[in-house]
Symmetry: C2
Subunit: 206 residues, 2 copies
Amino acid sequence: MSPADTEPRQDGPARGRPRSEAVEHAIIEAVMTLLEDGLPLAEISVERVARTAGVGKATIYRRWSGKEELFVDVLRAAEPPDPELPGTSMRDDLVVLLEALRRRGLAGRNSAILHHARAQMKSSPNLWAAYHNTVILPRRRLGLEVLRRGRENGELRTDVDIELLNDIVVGPLLVRTVLRPDADLPDDLAERVVDTLLQGLRPANG
Amino acid sequence: MSPADTEPRQDGPARGRPRSEAVEHAIIEAVMTLLEDGLPLAEISVERVARTAGVGKATIYRRWSGKEELFVDVLRAAEPPDPELPGTSMRDDLVVLLEALRRRGLAGRNSAILHHARAQMKSSPNLWAAYHNTVILPRRRLGLEVLRRGRENGELRTDVDIELLNDIVVGPLLVRTVLRPDADLPDDLAERVVDTLLQGLRPANG
């Protein structure tokens, strides 16, 4: 990353007032730089971020209510973007959702910043709650929504509750990404899990 | 728990030399008492355990190589015992294995000691590794073994690898017990998960 990326841009005719988006970007990049330098989240104050980004503390507080809210945006910026659902079938939507979980797992393994930020986040109840509410919960709602549509379309059995079906669908990916960080995450994992689940574990008859 | 339970027994004719099992019990109970008093694992030294149990440090080191090994035995003592597999079918064995995971989850919610000990264990890489090797790994091997037998008996499809099938089977229970500690753990959860997985998520045809 070039130094220019971490500084608020001062370009354009309206001198002295950088565009809001560029400032936000600079602030988020400042936190990432500090994390990259090995600073634990607990030691990264709003003041320190402001200094690193070359902005005033008020500039940060105008955009985020506090450190927690800012860090959640940093984690979101470092993570793969949320997937676009194809909407062609429940099966295809589920594959895309699980593929996003797989990529999220790979990102956590390949990015030292993301890995440390996530680990540290879990030791801060406030930060964890903010992350849970803004990142995990919407993703979970999306999964439940896909299953509900599948049930309406006749793609899904109707005798098991949607919450349990969701845990059955995301379970294997969460086990491999969150609980067993050394587990295999092959390219076709999402597809194999979804198709195995849809067909069932009994041998195919006929 | 009565005070007598936490002291090495001095009963029986052979005065002064309590039975080995009673001493082990007393030492494990001493750690539990300290955890119950709210001491973090990091602050519980072998010396402190010895003092609480009323034994010498050497008595502890004769039985455990160190603090980590002792704590793993404490965690095991506090957890529900490993299940006996009925062996009547893969389906029945899987239900028993998942029911053990469900009970383990319930125990972690209902026992403050267990809850704190597990949480603290995760922040000690040595302790976590010891726990993983002596508690989690054997359980995982047992699950893989049950699936292998099921595959040989024709109860399980043969076109998906056993490791992935195991993650599919344990996934929903691990999600509900480890990742979502507020999730429902109804009595019939193990049975519902296993039967849903065996049948598949597609609507039953015919």
